[in-house]
């Protein structure tokens, strides 16, 4: 009953989305405001319908309705209720429904907020959002129905009994109600994994809004900056969630996957990283469009790419194409995705070419040494990194398709190719804010930059004297030192200028400086966060050390400044059906006892899956990361451990917090901005009455 209702709500939502997608352009074309309003209402109605469907699926999950296949696959009786709720995005069909719900939420919010303000852009924006939403609901309805049930067909003279998965009861079949479900994949029970997908999906879906308005601007030839201004905050919020999703994903991998790292250039990670790269390029290059009226075509290309990569990312993670291109051919949703990406990409480009002449630049590039060129170089580097990641991700599939010989590239390839590009980008981040618009003078730039450069050289010399010999790390730390100083210099220069003109004390001056120029100093705060994370990346990449060994109780293993001794191991069964082996080791640093760690192995009896949970001692200087690899049932014969020391890795997570703070500063509405908006709305309202459209 509940399942029927949920499926019915989805069908209605699909109907509403399609109706809105047809009526909106028809209403605009035939000049029937009532039709357009009706399309708007229908589009808004998708949200309560998809919400209802999601709530009903959650009800099924929480109440152990194992006859529903999805519930059987992702939950079990032993799971606590909150995990049953999060199982909504623990499997394929539920993820797609959840994706659709987030998408409906974002489009609903955008349609409510922008209806009065950007009426001219509305018809096309509705089409784009509703076609995208309709596609995802369609996937859920036709290919991955989370409300499908299990049936059993009794044995006959010619055939054995068989299990059927179908929404409707097949002829002659009986309901199959398993006593218990499989349970959520243990890897997905970690808090990081519970919030990571919603973050990532939110980031993904929120880019549909700027894309929809960009397409509307192309169709209506309103190719000024209106679409960028009206979607700026949506883009920033989407970008924030995408960034959060990436950081949390890294943290989850570090805590749960037990290989001592946080980023493995796995195709699933790359799928989320690529739209982040193009979106970051977009966030930078819109500044030139707003300031100088340049790069209008390029910004369109960037938002189209970001949207396509968002859909491509969902496709990569959801279609099974990653395990093998042949598996992809078998899954029904793969080709559907492929066609959708192809169609929307080609359609977007056609629209772009149609409006090409309307997207001319107001200004030309004046000089190689100018802020504009710096932004261009920034965009080029982001695109090169995105292209590198894309190539590395699709190359194994291409090579398998074309030559039938799979060639994969792993982290060493990515690190070698992307490392230099990333270093160049960080260096540019330190120089670009100092470069003047239009045309900068090399001499003036030199005057600003010589002493941060000299100080960075001193840092490098200091590190060499301290014994560091890896030239990659020296170069990296040199660049980060330089960029830290130039970025801080921006804050200092602004604060000093304020103190001189207003006579404020330094702290007030700094706070008002940031509060009055939120976009600019929010951006610089993000730059500082990137530097802090870069220090963490350099430290953990170049100086990670590891060792492993089998220890009897009382024996020890040393690594760097650390020694661990094996104290003992306990095996026990938990109430939620886990067989746990929990080791106790003591950690000594420079011979001083600093505490105990408990690396463990949880074996989930229901699903038969093991999970290795490291014992980690975390400080700002380094992490000791101990894994229990194996043990003998008779504790006397010992256990095997693998130990990593990850220097500076905590800088990555702390930088993440500052990163979020900076994005919030940049996205927070200014008082002056609010005033401006009020006046433009008032001014626009009478104009619309006379314009006659």
């Amino acid at each position: 009953m509940v399942a029927n209702l949920g499926f019915f709500a989805l069908l209605l939502a699909l109907g509403c989305a399609l109706y809105a997608a047809v009526m909106a352009p028809l209403g605009a074309y035939r000049h029937r405001p009532a039709w357009l309003a009706s399309a708007h209402q229908a589009a808004l109605l998708t949200w309560p319908l998809v919400t209802l469907a999601s709530l009903l699926l959650i009800t099924l999950l929480v109440t152990n309705q194992f006859q529903v296949e999805y519930v059987y696959l992702v939950t079990s009786r032993a799971m606590p209720t909150y995990l049953k709720v999060t199982a909504l995005w623990g499997g394929q069909a539920g993820s797609l429904l959840f994706w659709s719900w987030l998408m409906a939420t974002f489009t609903g919010a955008a349609l409510l907020r922008k209806w009065d303000r950007d009426r001219a852009l509305m018809p096309v924006a509705i089409v784009v959002m509703m076609v995208t939403l309709g596609f995802f609901i369609g996937l859920v309805v036709f290919f991955e129905n989370p409300f499908a049930r299990l049936w059993t067909l009794p044995a006959t003279a010619t055939q054995d009994a068989s299990t059927i998965i179908s929404f409707l009861q097949p002829a002659g079949a009986l309901a199959l109600i398993p006593p218990d479900g499989n349970g959520l994949n243990p890897l997905l029970r970690h808090p990081g994994m519970i919030i990571h997908p919603p973050m990532l999906y939110t980031g993904f879906v929120s880019f549909v809004v700027p894309y929809a308005f960009a397409m509307a601007a192309l169709v209506t030839r309103r190719t000024d900056d209106e679409w960028i201004r009206t979607t700026r905050r949506w883009t920033l919020v989407g970008w924030l969630f995408l960034s959060l999703g990436l950081i949390l994903g890294g943290r989850w991998a570090y805590d749960v996957l037990g290989w001592g790292g946080y980023w493995g250039w796995d195709p699933v990670e790359n799928a989320a990283f690529m739209p982040w790269l193009t979106a970051t390029a977009f966030l930078h290059s819109v500044m030139i469009q707003e300031k100088r009226g340049m790069l209008k075509k390029w910004n369109m290309v960037l938002i189209i790419l970001t949207y396509s990569l968002v859909i491509f990312g969902t496709f990569l993670t959801r279609s099974g194409v990653l395990s093998s291109v042949h598996a992809f051919a078998q899954s029904a949703i793969g080709p559907a995705f492929f066609i959708f990406i192809g169609l929307t990409f080609v359609a977007s480009l056609l629209l772009l070419f149609r409006a090409w002449d309307h997207l001319g630049s107001d200004h030309h590039l004046d000089s190689l040494l100018s802020r504009e060129s710096a932004f261009l170089l920034n965009n080029l580097l982001f695109m090169c990194i995105a292209a590198t990641v894309f190539w590395g991700t699709v190359f194994p599939m291409l090579s398998e398709l074309i030559t039938n010989q799979t060639i994969t590239v792993g982290p060493p390839w990515y690190n070698r190719v992307i490392g230099p590009q990333f270093a160049a980008l960080v260096l540019l981040m330190g120089i670009a804010p100092m470069v003047a618009w239009r045309q900068a003078s090399a001499r003036q730039l030199g005057r600003l930059l010589w002493w941060p450069f000299a100080a960075a050289l001193l840092v490098v010399v200091g590190l060499v004297i301290a014994g560091m010999r890896s030239w990659g790390a020296l170069l990296g730390f040199g660049i980060t030192a330089f960029v830290t100083l130039t970025t801080l210099l921006e804050f200092v220069r602004g604060t000093l200028a304020r103190m001189k003109t207003t006579g404020e004390n330094p702290l007030t001056a700094l706070i008002t400086l940031i509060a009055r120029n939120r976009r600019r100093y929010g951006g610089y705060t993000i730059h500082l966060a990137v530097i802090i994370m870069t220090i963490g990346i350099i430290g953990s990449h170049f100086f990670q050390v590891e060792t492993q060994g089998q220890l009897k109780p009382g024996e020890q293993l040393s690594l760097g400044r650390y020694v661990i001794t094996y104290d003992g191991l306990a095996e026990f069964l938990t109430p939620d059906d886990r067989q746990v082996a929990r080791a106790t080791v003591s950690v000594y640093r420079d011979g001083v006892y600093v505490g105990q760690l408990h690396p463990r192995r949880d074996f989930y009896l229901a699903s038969g899956e093991p999970m290795t949970i490291p014992g980690v001692r975390s400080t700002i200087e380094d992490d000791v990361y101990v894994l229990l690899v194996s043990w003998e049932p008779v504790a006397a014969s010992g256990a095997s451990f693998k130990i990593y020391v990850n220097p500076l890795i905590n800088w990555i997570w702390s930088g993440g917090f500052l990163f979020i703070l900076g994005t919030l500063i940049a996205a927070w509405p200014d008082a002056s901005e609010l005033r401006r908006r009020v006046t433009t709305t008032v001014a626009a309202a009478p104009g619309r009455a006379f314009s006659g459209d």
Partner: protein, 174 residues
């Protein structure tokens, strides 16, 4: 900003400026492509089945390889002092469609281990012995083929077919 006054001094003719930007951009793109291509040669990993490795033999020595096979339980040896693990894997198809057609991964692994005619490859890996390394597990190894015909693995991934794929749901007792 004070610098805007510098704009009167013409730094470069406009058409020439554009070429400069193009050349600069192409140089950067060219450098990235060059780096990506040369790194692919030295760092790309070739995915082969045990059958293919045995057939090509010496031609593969020194290349970065990735291979998957079914672990034969009796062949596993492990020295806890030196951490040297040695075991033999039997050929399995790396094509998911074939695996599905043959009745799923667990069945394919079982058949590979019990088939005396399946091609086999010895693997040596140094590290603590993972408890997933057991009979009829799927091993995915990355490393190089030695002149002695032994696969020296730098990385060892193990997969055990889960119950999830195995057992169809059963009816609640009624």
């Amino acid at each position: 900003m004070a610098q805007t006054t510098v704009g009167t001094q013409v730094f470069a003719p406009r058409s020439g400026g554009r070429t400069k930007f193009l050349i600069g951009g192409l140089l950067i793109i060219g450098a990235v492509i060059f780096l990506a291509a040369t790194s692919l040669n030295s760092l790309g990993q070739y995915f082969y089945t045990v059958d293919e490795i045995m057939a090509k033999g010496e031609a593969l020595i020194g290349k970065n390889l990735r291979a998957s096979g079914a672990v034969i339980g009796d062949s596993i040896t492990y020295d806890p002092k030196t951490l040297i693990i040695s075991f033999i894997v039997a050929n399995v198809s790396n094509d998911n469609a074939d695996v599905e057609a043959a009745g799923g991964l667990a069945k394919v692994l079982h058949l590979a281990v019990t088939d005396p005619n399946a091609t086999r490859l010895r693997v040596i890996y140094i590290g603590a012995k993972p408890d997933l390394l057991k009979d009829e597990a799927q091993a995915i190894v990355t490393g190089k083929l030695g002149a002695d015909g032994v696969f020296y693995a730098d990385e060892l991934l193990l997969k055990c077919p889960t119950r999830y794929e195995e057992a169809p749901p059963v009816q609640a007792g009624n």
